[in-house]
């Protein structure tokens, strides 16, 4: 089997996902076009040589409906001979796009592919696309709860308390602020501009440098009312009958931020890279997705990691850095607890709690962030993983070249 290499990874800064956000006036197709334009521009590449554009997007309706990958590529001025396809694996869609691109290249089906993601949560509300799971028959047969309830369920099952979550959230903020101030993101951030070329957003705006433990402690649990008065906690009993009650510990402060953003990654074969003068920065070693308990929903990164390591014939110790998406603080904490990992190898430049989680794009953003952190620290191998709605997990292992 052949190999797939990462040549470049770019992303927009993340805007607040509400009407006050800097990217609220930007059409989702333009947000995507911003990163797609950047790849050929930065790499002196004729877009006609790109064989497919695979874009993750979760709320595929209204302005993000139909196939935004295709329209984003056209808006970016790509040659019309470049097709596009939009993929949905919930919060891992951006990494799913990367993994599919890698598979196309490694199998020899394609030589140069762009993968990425886009989500404008300020313009297309989460949940606006309905959902096959909102169905009483499925509730009874399989069971599913909203992700916030699942997060609190995870925390309760693993004995992770409010203080642990808040401490982790503070850490995420501090690391992201430090990274931003040290210019760690400068190389890969593509400013978003208006029609006149005037900048709308050049830095991530969700960060809260003024975060303190005291401030975090004052926030109210976000899912207590939904769980208790809305009776949704009861839907977890069949799968977890031993829990008398769920501790509601997640708040707006220790869960991922709602933001707008887009990302794109250039992936191709070594031969094509050489022919085009592209320098390979990392090799994609393994790329997997797994299913896990849909009620708990957020445990997927653990079995996904195990499978990715097995496929790569690597052990956990051989991974230098991890990106575990901070959908909710309990996720990376439970992950670290399960694998006995020190937190200083995980999300070293902060994560979605500080920076925000633009659903369909995050997976591709984390890959770029991980690669840059490995390069900056002179380290070799990294693993990206995200938890996924419906109880799945996706993971990718990269190795610097």
């Amino acid at each position: 089997m052949g190999e797939a290499f990462v040549f470049d990874a770019v992303r927009t800064p993340r805007g607040l996902g509400k009407s006050q956000g800097a990217l609220y006036t930007v059409r989702p197709v333009e947000l995507l076009a911003t990163v797609l334009r950047a790849l050929p521009a930065r790499n002196a590449l004729d877009s006609a040589l790109i064989e497919d554009v695979i874009i993750g997007c979760v709320t595929q309706t209204e302005e993000q409906g139909a196939c935004i990958a295709r329209w984003g590529a056209l808006e970016a001025g790509f040659d019309p001979r470049v097709p596009g396809v939009t993929v949905h694996r919930y919060c891992a869609s951006g990494l799913q796009a990367v993994n599919q691109a890698a598979a196309l290249v490694a199998s020899g089906y394609a030589e140069l592919v762009v993968a990425g993601g886009v989500e404008s949560m300020s313009r297309v509300r989460m949940g606006a696309d309905g959902g096959a799971q909102y169905d009483p028959a499925l509730q009874w047969a399989v069971g599913s709860v909203p992700q916030g309830i699942a997060a609190d369920l995870l925390a309760t099952l693993r004995g992770i308390g409010r203080h642990d979550l808040d401490a982790f959230a503070l850490r995420s903020q501090q690391r992201a602020v430090a990274a931003r101030d040290a210019g760690h993101f400068a190389r890969s951030l593509i400013p978003v501009c208006d029609v006149n070329g005037l900048p709308l957003l050049e830095r991530d705006e969700h960060l809260r440098p003024d975060t303190t433990l005291e401030r975090l402690a004052q926030l109210k649990p976000a899912f207590a009312t939904l769980g208790r008065q809305g009776a949704l906690d009861a839907l977890t009993r069949r799968a977890y009958p031993q829990l008398e009650a769920i501790e509601h510990v997640h708040t707006a402060g220790n869960a991922s931020g709602i933001v707008d953003g887009a990302a794109a990654v250039l992936i191709g074969s070594r031969a094509r890279g050489e022919a085009l003068g592209l320098r390979p920065r990392a090799r994609i070693v393994s790329a997997v997705s797994v299913g896990d308990d849909p009620v708990l929903m957020l445990w997927g990164p653990v079995p996904a990691t195990r499978l990715a390591l097995e496929r790569a014939r690597l052990t956990l110790d051989e991974i230098d850095l991890f990106e575990v998406n901070e959908a909710f603080a309990a996720v990376p904490l439970a992950y670290a607890q399960e694998f006995g990992l020190e937190l200083d190898r995980i999300n070293v430049d902060g994560g979605a709690i500080a920076l925000g989680h633009p659903l369909g794009a995050t997976g591709a953003m984390l890959l770029g962030t991980l690669l840059e952190a490995l390069e900056r620290r002179g380290l070799q191998r990294g693993l990206v993983t995200l938890c996924i709605g419906g109880g799945m997990g996706t993971a990718t292992i990269i190795e610097r070249v």
Binding site: P136, Q139, A231, R238, P241
Partner: protein, 726 residues
């Protein structure tokens, strides 16, 4: 008003049809056979004919549907649903009735329903298919869906008309937590458009409305109509349905398929074109009707129950006898009030004036006074009338005129014997002396009775006005005449009787004890207490074994346990019995009344399981791992231990019929009604499979699970407790 001759054919005898040519109004009066109108297939066929007849009338402007009987109309008896085992045939029957109502609804003229009395199940659905509903607002009026209690879905359009009339939220409220609605409540809910003092006034309003030439179509049959409230596929609707699913799961712990199917019918149908939505309802209704759970509910709660009620010679209507109650505690006070509300004159005797005062306080809390509407509470005048029938007294003499004395003092043998000795001599010949004891054998209580033929046990269940079961204990010397009079008394109180033999714990308390002790065993073994409780409810038990133990009181439970050990030789001392001892003696956790038990309580409110249970039951031991099967296995154990006890009781002649065993457990103990009862449950497992399961459990957990000889023999002979032909 001119009347055409009653048209021949299918309309009569179902309808009295008349036509007022001047006003252009046709009236269809339901004249079902007997005293009832029933929305079944014959009525549906007649309805279609009636609509055709009306359609042909010259100058027809409107239709009025009313009843010639005191009640408007109801649905078929629940066991009618069991008559058609074939799914396709049952579906066809359901669709015919739906389509008949649809024909009425779309006949081209406006239709008014004039309601009175009981408007139940299919009768309510018939009313909903009309374009307007007016009602005679008297105490008899009630709109209700009692079929839901038997695991049946409305199948003539209620799941689709109610959301389209009221919106998703209000419709789900009415359908998922159904309680009968009286006049004003029905009007406020939007089910009835206007209320009138009498039938004539209601009819006049119907004519008046029809004269205004209203639209002859339901709102949802008009173009441009949208569902009231949140749209069917909106986020708000999604959240409503999700919340309803959660609330349902909280209430039923997934033990009942019918409400789940009902929620599906509403959710899936509300976004569809109406005629196809009716089809969705029909298919889900057929699915519910054919489930084993629904069949079991109908057999036990309808068939067995009616058979038992028939023993009483008919439910009470006539005033009951003059009753003397001995002991003014919780049970005695409750019993006195209940009997008084059923028309009995009551003498309540206690030796302690404070107890009598407390009884008066309890009664005072029953009727909250004018204005408040507590469900099930009597009107202030009925409450006052009941209180007027009660004579609290410290003296013995007033008891002399009673036809029946019921002893409800503490569960102490010597005390009961003394009370018998003191009060039996006061009785006139033919009067009865009864004990409300839950466990002490009559033979012991009445060992010194002058006339043992008149002595029996009347074991009521608390709270007495809500629990329908009455366990009549027949002593070895109790006479036939005594039993008959007691059954008549049960009828006067509207109770469902089972007659059982004499022996410690009789029937229900033995079964109850087995359940309670098994709960303790499971905790002692290391099962998570939360899992034990949930598994019990998931299996269908109304209340988990730990909560039920707290309610009864752990000290009392141990007392009954000691009695059973002494007199029945069971249960053996075990980790479970030791856990109960530790809770009471070492931890001072005697249950809810003691302020702490398995659960913690704050101001009498249950606050959660005591975290110290784990350490108490198995110090240092890690709890048992929870697998996907854990809850099912724990639940099965809790049901099977009760089934074994029921079999033993049957074998010993304490209960004489499987029906009584099942009815008694379901109505008295909240045994999983969806199984039909402890013996029906064994039939459902299949007797050989049940024996195999019990042998496996006995091998691991002890002889208490061993299949009794009667069960093994029945399994070997291939004879279930209920013959298959039933």
């Amino acid at each position: 008003m001119s009347a055409l001759p009653n048209p021949a054919g299918a309309i009569a005898p179902a309808f009295d049809a008349a036509f007022d040519g001047a006003r252009g109004l046709a009236t269809l009066r339901l004249t079902g056979p007997g005293a009832d109108n029933v929305l079944d297939e014959p009525l549906a066929t007649a309805l279609v004919e009636a609509v055709a007849w009306a359609h042909a009338l010259p100058g027809l402007r409107g239709l009025i549907v009313s009843s010639a009987h005191p009640d408007f109309c109801r649905g078929p008896d629940p066991d009618r649903w069991l008559a058609t085992p074939d799914a396709a045939a049952l579906l066809a029957r359901v669709r015919r009735v739906q389509q008949a109502l649809r024909r009425l609804e779309t006949c081209g003229v406006p239709v008014v329903a004039v309601l009175a009395g009981a408007v139940s199940d299919g009768g309510l659905e018939l009313a909903l298919a009309c374009h307007r509903r007016v009602a005679v607002d008297d105490p008899r009026l009630r709109l209700e869906l009692p079929a839901l209690g038997f695991g049946l879905l409305p199948a003539a359009g209620a799941t689709q008309r109610l959301p389209r009339l009221l919106g998703l939220g209000p419709a789900l409220e009415l359908l998922l937590r159904p309680a009968p609605l009286r006049g004003e409540a029905a009007r406020r809910a939007g089910l009835v458009d206007a209320l009138f003092a009498d039938h004539e006034a209601a009819l006049a309003d119907a004519r008046r409305w029809l004269a205004t030439r209203p639209d002859p179509a339901q709102a949802f049959d008009r173009p441009g109509w949208v569902l009231p409230g949140p749209g069917p596929r909106s986020t708000a609707a999604r959240d409503l349905v999700l919340s309803a699913a959660g609330a349902l799961h909280q209430r039923t712990a997934g033990s009942q398929p019918a409400p789940e199917l009902l929620l599906r019918a509403v959710h899936e149908g509300c976004g569809l074109v109406f005629d196809r939505a009716l089809e969705v309802e029909a298919r889900l209704a057929v699915n519910a009707a054919r489930s084993a759970t629904t069949a079991a509910l109908i057999r036990t709660l309808w068939q067995h129950r009616r058979r038992a009620e028939a023993l009483t010679g008919g439910a009470g209507g006539a005033a009951g006898p003059r009753v003397g109650i001995l002991g003014a505690g919780l049970m005695g006070a409750g019993l006195a009030y209940h009997c008084a509300t059923r028309g009995c004159e009551v003498v309540l005797r206690d030796v302690d004036p404070v107890a009598l005062d407390r009884a008066r306080e309890r009664w005072a809390r029953r009727s909250p006074g004018d204005g408040a509407a507590v469900p099930g509470a009597l009107s202030p005048s009925a409450h006052a009338a009941a209180l007027a029938r009660i004579t609290p007294t410290l003296a013995l003499e007033p008891l002399a005129g009673c036809a029946l004395l019921i002893e409800a003092v503490d569960e102490a043998l010597a005390l009961k014997q003394r009370v018998l000795a003191e009060t039996e001599p006061l009785l006139a010949p033919g009067a009865l002396w009864a004990s409300n004891t839950s466990a002490l054998p009559l033979a012991s209580i009445a060992a010194q009775a002058r006339d043992p033929a008149r002595v029996l046990g009347l074991h009521f269940f608390s709270p007495v006005e809500r629990m329908p079961l009455l366990e009549l204990v027949r002593g070895a010397l109790t006479s036939e005449a005594t039993l008959e009079r007691a059954l008549a008394f049960a009828g006067a109180l509207g109770k469902v009787p089972i007659v059982v033999g004499d022996g410690y714990g009789f029937y229900t308390t033995r079964v109850f004890l087995a359940y309670l002790v098994e709960g303790a065993e499971l905790v002692a073994e290391g099962h998570a207490p939360a899992l034990v409780e949930w598994a019990a409810r998931h299996a269908g038990m109304a209340v988990g074994p730990l909560q039920v133990a707290d309610e009864v009181g752990l000290a009392l439970a141990r007392q009954i346990l000691a009695g059973a050990q002494q007199q029945l030789g069971r249960p053996a001392a075990s980790p479970g019995t030791r856990l109960l001892a530790a809770l009471v003696e070492t931890q001072g956790r005697g249950g809810r009344a003691a302020g702490a038990g398995y659960y913690s309580y704050v101001e009498g409110q249950r606050r959660g399981l005591w975290p110290g249970l784990g350490a108490l039951s198995a110090p240092g031991r890690v709890g048992l791992p929870v697998t996907r099967d854990s809850a099912a296995q724990v639940g099965q154990r809790l049901l099977l231990i009760q089934s074994v006890e029921a079999v033993r009781a049957l074998a010993e002649g304490i209960v004489t019929h499987a029906r009584d065993a099942d009815l008694g457990a379901v109505l008295g103990l909240g045994f999983a009604p969806g199984t039909g009862g402890p013996l029906a449950y064994l039939d459902r497992l299949g007797l050989p499979a049940a024996c195999a399961r019990l042998d496996a459990l006995a091998a691991v957990h002890g002889a208490r699970f061993a299949p009794p000889p009667l069960l093994r023999e029945a399994a070997a002979r291939g004879e279930p407790f209920y013959p298959v032909t039933e």
